[in-house]
């Protein structure tokens, strides 16, 4: 804390290709979340340039960046960030409401998304009635329901046990494979690292290693 200037990221030069399943890996304070926030247009770089889906983050107006997030970006958070007063259906429906999609189409898209994550039987439940794994699956459905180009997941398994973590990761891997959605994780969880096909290691705001894993 204090008035001193803190550099979260320094000299980052990365290119993400559509359909990647990438992990940004590093210890706490290495700049993972900051990088994810910049990609998600929730933050802007103080220097340099970040281009997301052909648009420079620094040049976007608040309305333009909101529109980009609304249509092309999905978020999955460590603490799920579900709306507690909404049902599972309403939580997943929310991004579609923002897009103004008509009711019948919206309903079908929500049901499809819940089917991807295997939660159709919990449609009327509220987040308080769900387990951690179920909550994160609802969060994945909410991120995926609008078929975004990129899903950004910040420590998605940090609050889950091993079984649930694997379940979640398998679900996301399946969606990545079937829908060709780009997944970018910020994590230091070994379980996540085991699933990603590209590992970007961050240390003190700099990329220390960027490796592509070839899986059979």
């Amino acid at each position: 804390m204090g008035s001193g200037k803190f550099t979260a990221l320094n000299g980052i030069d990365l290119l993400f290709v559509a359909g990647e399943f990438t992990g940004i890996i590093g210890p706490s304070g290495s700049g993972k979340t900051t990088l994810l926030n910049i990609i998600g247009t929730l933050d802007v770089p103080s220097e340099g340039k970040a281009v997301i889906l052909g648009k420079s983050v620094g040049n976007l107006s608040p309305g333009e960046s909101a529109a980009l997030r609304k249509s092309q970006l999905g978020f999955i958070f460590q603490t799920y960030n579900l709306f507690q007063v909404y049902t599972v259906f309403e939580n997943v429906e929310f991004p579609l409401l923002l897009q103004g999609i008509e009711t019948s189409k919206r309903k079908q898209m929500v049901l499809d998304a819940l089917e991807w994550v295997g939660l159709t039987e919990k449609i009327g439940s509220r987040p308080a009635q769900l387990s951690g794994g179920e909550s994160q699956r609802v969060a994945i459905a909410r991120a995926m329901v609008k078929r975004p180009a990129i899903v950004l997941a910040d420590e998605p398994t940090a609050n889950l046990d091993a079984t649930n973590s694997h379940h979640i990761l398998q679900t996301m891997e399946k969606l990545n494979r079937e829908l060709h959605t780009t997944f970018i994780f910020a994590t230091h969880d070994e379980k996540v690292i085991g699933y990603v096909r590209r590992k970007i290691f961050l240390l003190d705001g700099k990329v220390s290693k960027d490796e592509i894993i070839v899986k059979n």
Partner: protein
């Protein structure tokens, strides 16, 4: 439209928290309207009672008469102008002779205003028919407040002393022929009513009067020498002033009630923004602009008052309507309370009062909801997502 839909969804989803706020706010609605309705009803009743018991359609006052200066009473009397009687208006004119006197109830001495009035009159609600003389004694009627303070009851005899036009003191025994209930203290407290002919005889002032109460409006009648016409409006001006000052008290009560209601909304909003930071961050992450989130929270706050108006209407309309028809029983008599108040008060709830109150509460609620919500526009979404206090 989307923001309205989301606001309603959030409010209904919040369940008990929303309904508690709505119920508190609806109480404020009903109490504000109820208080204003009582004051309005009280005002109307006061005006109506003044006209019924004291003013009638208007009054001619002797040019020297000043009701606030008893010393003028000795000189403020004159004969009734011929013009008034020959105009065939005698039936709608009731002369009243007014003088000072002293009453001696149970050995005490009490200064009083003696008013002589025609027993047959029917312009005022006073039961003057009881002033018809019987067996040569002097009948008098007094109000219940006067009876209470003098401990006089119907049938009691009491000594009354007065000074005639020559300044000679005289006294006689009068009989309390009747006690009337009224909400108008100016015909009750410190007043004693006698038959006018008897008082004229006592005062040595035949055919004279101090004021002439009229049954029709004489505003356009030609001016009379020695007499000044006061129409209903000018005679009600004093009570209008009292009502106006009471209105200020009403506004203060109204303001306090409104402030209490708004405090509940403001508190809810501040708490919401504090507690729902993660939610705010999530809204932004999912594609809402900060402006939309501000609008969402403002509408959420303001919707409380819409729901409160509906909830208030559900129980308030039957409650207030019943009161308006049946009235409210006031347990304290006017003499004990010190101001004119009927035993049964009929509140008046005008459409303007109800619509105005709802509109003002809605507008103030919207402002009070917007005020703390502006903070959202300054929130850093990445910090909000982490739920960090900013």
């Amino acid at each position: 439209m989307l923001v309205f839909k989301l606001a309603l969804r959030n409010l209904l989803g919040a369940g008990l928290r929303t309904w508690l706020n709505v119920i508190v706010l609806s109480f404020s609605f009903v109490i504000i309207i109820w208080t204003k309705g009582i004051l309005e009803g009280w005002d109307r009743q006061a005006r109506a009672d003044m006209i019924k018991w004291e003013i009638a359609a208007g009054q001619y006052w002797h040019k020297d008469y000043d009701p606030y200066d008893p010393l003028t009473l000795n000189d403020s009397h004159g004969t009734i102008p011929d013009g008034l009687i020959t105009n065939n208006n005698s039936a709608s004119i009731v002369p009243v002779l007014i003088t000072q006197g002293t009453l001696y109830p149970m050995g005490r001495m009490l200064p009083v205003i003696i008013r002589g009035i025609e027993p047959q009159q029917n312009l005022l609600a006073l039961p003057t028919i009881k002033l018809k003389e019987t067996d040569g004694d002097v009948p008098a009627i007094i109000g219940s407040a006067m009876a209470e303070s003098t401990k006089l009851r119907e049938g009691d005899y009491v000594t009354l002393r007065w000074r005639d036009k020559n300044g000679t003191f005289d006294a006689t025994e009068i009989r309390i022929a009747g006690i009337f209930e009224t909400n108008v203290p100016t015909v009750d407290v410190g007043q004693i009513w006698l038959p006018i002919e008897k008082l004229r005889e006592m005062m040595l002032l035949p055919e004279e009067a101090t004021i002439l109460i009229t049954g029709t409006d004489f505003s356009n009648a030609p001016a009379l020498d020695q007499w000044i016409y006061k129409n209903q409006k000018s005679l009600l001006s004093d009570i209008e002033k009292i009502i106006k000052s009471k209105g200020a008290v009403g506004i203060i009560i109204w303001g306090i009630m409104l402030m209490m209601a708004m405090l509940a909304i403001f508190d809810t909003q501040v708490l919401s923004i504090f507690r729902r930071q993660k939610e705010i961050g999530t809204y932004v992450a999912l594609g809402m602009t900060r402006g939309q989130v501000v609008k969402l929270f403002t509408i959420e706050g303001a919707t409380h008052s819409v729901l409160a108006a509906i909830a208030g209407a559900v129980y308030g309309i039957p409650l207030l309507a019943t009161q308006a028809v049946k009235g409210i029983s006031i347990p304290i008599s006017s003499s004990d309370f010190g101001i004119a108040m009927a035993e049964r008060l009929y509140p008046v709830y005008s459409l303007g009062l109800i619509a105005g109150t709802i509109l003002i509460v809605l507008m103030v609620t919207t402002v009070v909801s917007y005020w703390p919500s502006r903070k959202i526009a300054k929130l850093n979404p990445t910090e909000a997502l982490r739920g960090r206090i900013q």
